[in-house]
Symmetry: C2
Subunit: 368 residues, 2 copies
């Protein structure tokens, strides 16, 4: 619905800006996927990947409905990457993904169709790969900071999957709504996922068990080393200055953009409704007039002209009390009320505070 | 790929702004569609709608892959529309659609997966419906003007489909690449699709055959009167002031956003490559330095800070001639060259012109 769509778009835009800032190039792959491509990496068979949605062309040819895009990205880059001069690169997309989960649950947190930013890095050497990987991890931290969850989000060691001995990195936000168990190292601002909590792993990570505190976390992103699994399988190599052929080392970097809508909604909500962080709120100001429509319209025009997104609740059939409740319910950061009572001033109230205050009408922009 | 994605996003944004300007509210429906919903309007059966992609949940339940969204939109609005006070409304989305065409062809012009803006209007009376319909038609004209094809795009009478005796309206752009035959009435700036060119229809439209000129057109949008077919079938009505129940009259309004990328590319291209209209070009300026990198970087920073999108071709291994050719090939509106030869000035050349001219470096912004 319209308000949620605005939040989704704002989160996408923050993610886009941070990926662009490290040199990410945005592309868009197709959702429909050819069988042959996925057979090359042995990921077509439902016994190997059990959450594919499959469909068929009118001619009978089987197609997959994109659940991730390592294969198509690597295949598409075949035409652009062959020399050492073409690397390193980051490519990413923000797009609907489809996973045939047996049990979809918790609304936007785990659905069968969701909006995801998936980025892929291609590097010439392990050292270069690690640079790209760390740069992307830092970009992720900036995303969470801008979303208002930087302080409570931990880079978390997790299982690396089947084709690497390295760990993968999850980003986990500490929250009562979390479904994962993680162990937080406050001092180093890192964490360890319960699934890899063995003495051996803690030894590798140089972490002592007693330094860790158990918490519940929501996964808000993950990054994986993919080694050369996909590039080798799809026959994409680069040649160096001397004309020698080498494997390309990949990383992949996911952020569930629609999942973040659900996560931020649930995490920040209070008994009166949603509380959107200002950076992703669908509007910055919820404007209410009590018998002072002319003044309210002036404020609306003034703020809108200055680039502030204002939701002016001009419903004639609703009482002020109902409007106050709706302003809280949909979680707009600042409520502004113009009424006879406020004289030349206006009443402003932050969603996160209980009491309003009076300010001069022409200082709302500065107040924001 | 990145440049095309930028064009796609710019077209989407122009469409979005014009739909918002007439009060359109943006939503996003799911791609995956439940069978039951489409059975209510008798559009599930492959014999009735022959270009569905179908898929299955892990449990075996059949799902459709969204080819259009009348049913889900009306179903979703059930929770928001019941009183005369809730109408009229426009809702729209910009989203990937999937159609199982027997013969996909012409790249982005007719693919099985494409990006579409689909808008739906809901009105209380036929008169109100017609107001919404005309207002949307005018918004479409503004979209085509901003895309640089306003002069050559004609509102064209076409077949209204199975559940209305009215005509539908196509928007057809006159072009050599067009696959439709239309008959243009220059004076009235309208056209008639060949498929409805009967004496009876011309009579209804008060058009004389001899006033028309045959042309080839590319369909760049269409709008349809849907009468009460979907709202009635899905049991969505409104009650008036007296509590009486009435049917809701719908219209639908499509623009193929990715199709427009292909259409604009093919229509404007010349022998040297693409020629993007400035409003949708991936970048406004293609910047080349010939031994004057410092000055070029200053220009880059200056223009970028002023909001101009500059593609700075700083490839060290390419000769100026190759860069000139690439600037033309990818169709950036203005090429700017800084070199020893130009002294304190820079050489600017519009993509649509043959010869460059010299201007002061600090006047590029004004020149744009």
């Amino acid at each position: 619905m319209p308000l949620g769509k605005r939040v989704l778009d704002k989160i996408s835009q923050i993610v886009r800006e941070e990926m662009n800032a490290i040199g990410g190039q945005e592309v868009q792959m197709t959702v429909l996927q050819p069988r042959e491509l996925w057979e090359k990496t042995d990921r077509w068979d439902d016994k190997k990947v059990d959450n594919w949605f499959k469909t068929k062309l009118a001619s009978g040819t089987e197609l997959g409905v994109g659940l991730t895009h390592e294969e198509p990205i690597v295949d598409a880059l075949k035409d652009f990457v062959s020399s050492y001069k073409d690397l390193p690169i980051y490519v990413y997309q923000i797009q609907s993904k489809f996973r045939n989960e047996l049990r979809a649950k918790s609304g936007l947190l785990r659905g069968r169709e969701f909006m995801m930013k998936d980025m892929y890095s291609l590097a010439r050497t392990q050292e270069e790969h690690e640079e790209l990987y760390e740069k992307a991890a830092e970009a992720y931290c900036r995303v969470y900071e801008r979303l208002g969850i930087g302080e409570i989000t931990y880079r978390t060691y997790a299982d690396g999957g089947i084709f690497t001995k390295r760990f993968s990195d999850e980003f986990q936000t500490i929250s009562d709504i979390g479904e994962d168990t993680i162990f937080v190292h406050e001092q180093r601002k890192i964490a360890v996922n319960k699934e890899i909590m063995t003495d051996e792993n803690l030894g590798k990570l140089q972490i002592k068990r007693e330094e860790l505190v158990e918490k519940r976390g929501v996964e808000v992103g993950n990054i994986f080393p993919l080694e050369t699994k996909y590039t080798d399988a799809l026959d994409v190599y680069y040649t160096d200055e001397k004309g020698e052929k080498h494997s390309i080392i990949m990383g992949c970097y996911g952020i569930g953009v629609s999942r973040l809508v659900g996560m931020l909604a649930e995490h920040f909500a209070d008994e009166r409704g949603l509380v959107w962080p200002s950076s992703v709120a669908p509007f910055q100001v919820y404007l209410i007039s009590i018998g002072r429509d002319e003044e309210a319209e002036k404020i609306y025009d003034d703020l809108t002209n200055r680039g502030v997104e204002v939701l002016y609740d001009d419903r004639a059939d609703k009482k002020p009390g109902e409007k106050f409740a709706d302003a809280d319910l949909i979680g707009i950061p600042l409520r502004v009320v113009v009424s006879e009572k406020t004289g030349n001033k206006v009443e402003v109230k932050k969603r996160t505070e209980k009491d309003p205050e009076l300010i001069e009408a022409d200082t709302i922009f500065e107040y924001l």
